[in-house]
């Protein structure tokens, strides 16, 4: 039976551009900072998955990031060097810098020293050994702001770039050993980015799109290439120093490779232009290399991974971190989370005829909009599945229902102090909305019996100030919140308020204090609370009498889990890890029941995107898994009702038949940002169309075609 799917496409949070990234090679964590000063930490060990998000504060900025082993440092226009507590997701330590606003930061390879370049031309050198930040030295003041700085491999010299000049410093003495003038033709030349190679060559990218190689001892120019039409903003050099990538305002990513030439005695290495890739349409702000893959970020807000060869691109769209929506199935309410406000919508309803059947929209004259990408010949995402085939299949089946009511926005809730929201939830009864910023938790009672009379009243919460994750039990009378490694159970009464009745410390069962997933069982005979941390540990608590007691921890697995759910009917816990492994764990028997058959499918294991959420199918023994671009339906028993598919030309259907018989069904939805069941045959999807992201971005440089 077909499912009635509410496709919500009006959820368009403003994409926020990425300012900078720092990649930690040892644990493959990527930290990226956006324009709104929020910092995201992505795990790139398997499928790239967002594990931590530090909300930004208004009027602050993060201009540069750096990893010192497991510690994350940042600096910005506020003129401070900040160390972040990646467990509690808050500031751990702050040092004020000399020279006002800071533009750049670099950590030496031994992870001992941090250099920060500032507006007034001071290089601040700090020692970061032994979990401390200790002031080491201030380099001689130079004219003009320092825009970029880089240590060499041994950490003896530091190169800094500013307007019209590059300086090479002796880190030991703090004195400049060489000043390279970059100015040309009397025009101001900004050196945006630098790289220092092990043979003492300094590579610079500047405002005029020039990539220049300099001798750091003599200050001579070795070679210069004009590779871009506009500013080069970033250079990334591979570990073996055999290739480098560069890009910038002109968003073409150009690769240079080192080529050895000459006879046996005199071998000289030359850098030559290799491939160039059209992946971005907007400024590329930062590049990082993760093994074979190139990470590029910029003004479009996407986190883009690419490689060549094989030619492969994967784009992760800018979205509000998970969980970003929540539904009340009974009242058909939808809670949407934006950066610093929430919206509650009442979903539309469809027309039903006398027999109780739905009425189809006959006047469905929507034209197929074929997007022609002639403008820049942008490289498409490399997808595992052939999307065209599915599209065609999908369009044939597309049946739109006649709407009797349009969706209606009931309320818009501004977060307290306009701070960014960390988590939010709508109670299953639809009457309570709870959200938390980094400093405040708020609960609001929503009354909307009749559309003209909508009211919001504050419900008092005591015993808790903020939380990272929050969940309601099915009766909406108990709230579970987790904050800095503790689970708080709150008794909720919409009139009297919410109070903490039990506090559970998780440190015994989990490895870190930052909890990634919090699930509360809905209709199982006994209530379970499941919490999972960012290291992949999962612990379960069970309700006994009045209190929750620790029940079990799941077996360890080598990677982070990306989604978790409780199958209420069978009392099993289903976990998807970022390496696409699906594990089913029986809560009654306290053991792993089976690994899902999905792993047998080549299509499943070939996936590169993580599952963002999953849910059990309410009618069949099947799982519905969601990633950014598609919805996957996995049937556990292979003989599903898919045999009744309309018979299309055999060739086209071949691939589908194969999937259907194996019980795998893929629905492409780009970009899917949420999926919720509303009933047995009704569901809601949140879709952010790529063109809606693009339309909210500032225009890229583009190329005007008409003017001479």
């Amino acid at each position: 039976m077909a499912c009635k799917l509410h496709r919500v496409r009006y959820y368009n949070p403003k994409p926020v551009q990425v300012n900078c990234v720092a990649f930690n090679k040892s644990n493959k964590l990527l930290a990226l900072a956006r324009q709104d000063a929020s910092i995201e930490i992505w795990d790139l060990n398997y499928a790239p998955y967002l594990i931590k998000c530090i909300p930004g504060v208004e009027n602050t900025s993060v201009e540069a990031l750096g990893w010192v082993n497991e510690r994350l440092l940042s600096t910005g226009l506020g003129g401070a060097l900040v160390e972040w507590d990646t467990d509690k997701l808050s500031i751990k330590y702050t040092v004020m810098l000399t020279g006002y606003a800071a533009w750049c930061l670099d950590v030496n390879s031994a992870k001992e020293l941090v250099a920060v370049g500032t507006e007034q031309g001071y290089v601040n050198l700090y020692s970061v050994e032994n979990d401390e930040i200790v002031y080491r030295k201030l380099f001689d003041k130079q004219e003009g702001r320092i825009i970029c700085c880089k240590f060499d491999q041994p950490g003896n010299i530091l190169a800094t770039g500013s307007i019209d000049s590059i300086r090479v410093w002796n880190v030991e003495t703090g004195q400049a050993t060489c000043r390279i003038s970059v100015a040309r033709r009397g025009k101001e030349t900004i050196v945006w980015c630098l790289a220092v190679l092990s043979d003492g060559v300094v590579v610079s990218g500047d405002r005029y799109g020039r990539l220049t190689f300099w001798d750091s001892n003599l200050g001579d120019q070795i070679e210069s290439y004009t590779t871009h039409k506009r500013d080069i903003l970033c250079i990334a050099v591979s570990d073996d120093e055999n290739s480098m990538y560069l890009s910038g305002v002109d968003p073409v990513i150009v690769q240079f490779v080192k080529v050895k030439s000459g006879s046996n005695k005199q071998t000289s290495a030359n850098w030559v232009k290799n491939v160039q890739r059209n992946i971005h349409e907007h400024d590329v702000r930062a590049l990082a290399i993760n093994g074979e893959k190139l990470i590029s970020v910029g003004a479009d807000g996407y986190l883009t991974l690419s490689s060549y060869p094989p030619k492969w691109v994967m784009r992760i769209p800018p979205m509000v971190p998970y969980p970003r929506s929540s539904v009340c199935a009974g009242k058909k309410l939808l809670l949407l989370r934006y950066s610093n406000y929430l919206e509650v919508w009442k979903l539309g309803s469809y027309a039903v005829n006398k027999n109780g059947n739905v009425i189809l929209n006959n006047t469905n004259i929507k034209k197929e909009i074929k997007q022609e990408n002639t403008r820049t010949q942008l490289e498409e995402d490399t997808e595992v599945i052939a999307p065209n085939e599915i599209d065609r299949h999908d369009k044939k089946q597309k049946q739109t229902l006649k709407l009797t009511e349009q969706p209606l926005k009931l309320v818009s809730i501004q977060a307290k102090g306009k701070k960014q929201i960390k988590c939010c939830e709508l109670s299953p009864s639809g009457e309570l909305v709870v959200y938390s910023t980094e400093s405040h938790i708020r609960m609001l009672k929503l009354e909307c019996d009749d559309e003209s009379n909508i009211s919001l009243t504050k419900v008092l919460i005591s015993g808790i100030t903020c939380c990272d994750r929050v969940a309601f039990t099915a009766d909406s009378r108990t709230l579970v919140a987790c904050c800095s490694g503790e689970l708080k159970i709150l008794q909720v009464d919409p009139e009297a308020g919410a109070t903490v009745i039990q506090t559970i410390a998780c440190d015994k069962y989990l490895k870190t204090k930052s909890i990634l997933h919090l699930v509360v069982s809905k209709v199982t005979p006994t209530s379970y609370i499941v919490a999972a941390d960012t290291m992949g540990r999962i612990a379960v608590w069970i309700k006994k009498a009045k209190k929750f007691e620790f029940y079990v921890t799941l077996p360890k697995y080598h990677c982070v889990l990306s989604a978790i759910t409780i199958d209420d009917r069978r009392e099993t816990l289903i976990v998807v890890y970022v390496d696409q492994k699906i594990v089913e764990y029986s809560l009654v028997d306290k053991q792993v029941t089976s690994s899902n058959k999905a792993e047998l499918h080549a299509e499943w294991s070939a996936r590169t995107a993580p599952v963002v959420s999953l849910s059990a199918h309410p009618l069949r023994d099947a799982l519905v898994l969601e990633d950014d671009v598609s919805l996957w339906v996995l049937d556990n028993n292979t003989t599903s009702d898919f045999e009744e598919q309309p018979s299309a030309p055999k060739k086209k259907q071949k691939w589908f038949k194969k999937l259907q018989t194996t019980g795998l069904h893929v629905i492409p939805l780009k970009y899917l940002s949420g999926f919720h069941w509303l009933g047995d045959d009704e569901a809601v999807t949140l879709e952010i169309l790529p063109e809606n992201i693009v339309s909210q971005l500032p225009p890229g440089i583009g190329s005007k075609k008409h003017a001479l």
Binding site: H6, R9, Y10, G348, K398, L401, Q406, H706, A707, L708
Partner: protein
């Protein structure tokens, strides 16, 4: 002043040698481009989009035109055949052929009369007449074999149609041949054929490098000479005149010319360094270049046109389009330095025997002054000052209109005089109703004021006069009155006068800038706020027009679709198998 905007490519050129020309389409904003021997395209100038086009198996030999009388496009094929087709016809090969025994040179469209066919032998006829009599058409040679028609145009003097040819002969010298045309038939009245040799009065050995028959503002033939001089042969007065020098263009190569409007010629030639090209807008009345526009590539004998506020130029591999604006010349000072004077060594015999009576009408008040040989300014100053003393407003109203060049001091004096006459001190100028009541009285002082605002002046000279001659209160009244003229009055203002009024507002505020700043008078604030409101309001209206124009265009062209419901959210409920 002329200002040329950004250069656009109208369309690529297939082959420069086979390009035949551009003609005006049915609508002003479209042009018909005869790209090659078998391709004709229509383009819209505003967005450079192709809006139609035809191809033909037969070879076109001259530019296709749109004939308003027949409401169809007319083209010359294989030099001797004419075909006509409508806008909606898809193939040219099927349209009816009209074959002539004489070779046709080109077609000239005319605005209200039928188009003219020009034959290679120099004869011409209106299109309809020629088609009817194509079999029997006479075949008398008007130009010799050694001669060559290089330009031809039709013009009108005193309701009589004329045709003008510029003919180049084998010795590289030029002749102008003019002849009146018979009504309807459009052929020449041979008895009135007139031939003028193109030569310079001063015996230099300069040769012609550019020629152009202007028919729009005045009927004249312009020649550009190799010593950079531009001369004009006035077709009405039948006289020669030297316009001036254009030193920005290299004279070693040919120069293309066209008429831009508002006394401006447009010239395209090689630049003086001979490493590129240049477009020059040249004011033929003042004899100065009013705008220069450098270009990358020069092409010899490039075809140059001016349609609908745009210059159309044939370039090496495309047809370019340059939108421009022409402003009524208000500030001569902006042209200072653009005029180069070179010593003219040639001798001219002057006739000093001037007639006793001047050739123009003059009021009797200045008769005595004329004899003294005073300038217009000083005459005006003397006469008007005397009249003001006598307090004769009727006379002032009458006499002031006789002068073109009015001294700024007199303007200030008259303003003061008129205000004194009106005596606005009795009313409260912050009270809008009172003001309207006062200003709506039609009286002599108001007529004088209205005329004064239209007189041309120099800002720099008027400001001190205003500062000295007018009180702050009077300036406030003047501002209020200008606002009344702009907003409340029923008087029809032309755009030129309106822009003058706005200039006066600026000028009055400039002159009393410090007083306006320092005074805390509420009256001043009120008036200035009023000015601001009016200006903002006008700007709003302009933006409103700007916004609604595209919509109106869409409606006119019938392309406006019913507004799709934008209020509906991007939201659907679909049936899908999950």
């Amino acid at each position: 002043m002329a200002k040329l905007h950004n250069y656009h490519v109208l369309c690529p050129l297939i082959d420069q040698n086979s390009f035949l020309g551009v003609a005006r389409d049915e609508l002003d904003e479209n042009v018909v481009v005869t790209l090659g021997r078998n391709v004709v395209n229509k383009y819209r100038l505003s967005d450079q989009k192709q809006i139609g086009g035809w191809t033909s198996k037969d070879h076109l030999t001259s530019a296709v035109i749109f004939d308003k009388e027949q409401d169809s496009y007319v083209g010359v094929f294989n030099k001797n055949t004419i075909k006509m087709w409508k806008d909606d016809s898809c193939s040219l090969d099927k349209s009816k052929k009209y074959k002539f025994s004489v070779n046709i040179m080109k077609l000239i469209p005319r605005d209200s009369e039928p188009s003219i066919i020009i034959f290679e032998n120099g004869n011409c006829a209106s299109l309809a007449y020629a088609l009817d009599n194509r079999k029997t058409y006479e075949n008398k040679l008007l130009v010799k074999d050694s001669e060559n028609i290089v330009d031809v145009a039709c013009y009108k003097i005193h309701k009589t149609d004329y045709i003008c040819y510029v003919i180049k002969n084998s010795k590289d010298s030029y002749d102008i041949m003019t002849c009146s045309l018979r009504d309807e038939l459009g052929d020449m009245e041979k008895s009135k054929l007139n031939k003028i040799k193109v030569a310079r009065t001063d015996s230099t050995n300069a040769h012609v490098i550019g020629k152009f028959i202007s028919i729009e503002q005045n009927s004249a033939v312009y020649f550009m000479w190799s010593d950079s001089k531009i001369t004009q042969y006035d077709l009405a007065k039948k006289s020669w005149k030297t316009i001036g020098l254009v030193t920005w263009i290299s004279t070693t190569t040919s120069v293309s010319m066209a008429w831009m409007g508002n006394d401006n010629l447009i010239l395209f030639g090689c630049n003086t360094d001979q490493d590129g090209a240049i477009i020059v807008a040249y004011n033929v009345i003042l004899g100065v270049g009013s705008c220069r526009y450098p270009m990358k590539m020069y092409s010899e004998n490039a075809k140059l046109y001016c349609f609908h506020g745009r210059i159309i130029l044939e370039a090496s591999n495309h047809i370019g389009m340059l939108p421009f604006v022409l402003e009524i010349n208000r500030n001569l000072s902006s042209l200072l330095g653009s005029h180069e004077i070179t010593q003219d060594d040639t001798m001219e015999i002057a006739n000093w025997d001037t007639p006793v009576n001047p050739m123009f009408n003059y009021p009797k008040e200045v008769k005595s002054l004329l004899k003294l040989g005073l300038t217009e300014r000083s005459m005006c100053a003397q006469v008007i000052a005397k009249l003001v003393e006598q307090d004769d407003i009727n006379k002032i109203n009458e006499i002031i209109r006789k002068f073109v060049d009015v001294p700024e001091s007199i303007i200030a004096m008259l303003l003061n005089y008129a205000i004194k006459k009106i005596n606005p001190s009795g009313i409260d100028i912050t009270n809008h109703e009172e003001v309207v009541k006062l200003c709506s009285i039609e009286s002599k002082p108001f007529t004088l004021l209205q005329y004064l605002f239209g007189i041309g002046f120099s800002d720099a000279m008027l400001i001190p006069c205003l500062r000295n001659g007018i009180s702050l209160d009077s300036s406030m009244f003047l501002l209020t009155y200008i606002l009344y003229l702009l907003v409340d009055s029923d008087i029809k203002l032309n755009s030129h006068y309106e822009s003058k009024l706005i200039d006066w507002c600026t000028l009055l505020m400039d002159s009393f800038y410090q007083q306006n700043l320092l005074t805390k008078d509420e009256k001043v604030t009120h008036v200035l706020k009023n000015v601001q409101n009016v200006v903002c309001n006008l700007i709003d209206q302009l933006t409103a027009i700007d916004n609604s124009l595209p919509l109106l265009h869409k409606i006119v062209s019938g392309k406006h679709s019913e507004q799709d419901d934008r209020d509906t959210l991007p939201y659907t409920i679909e049936l899908m198998k999950i």
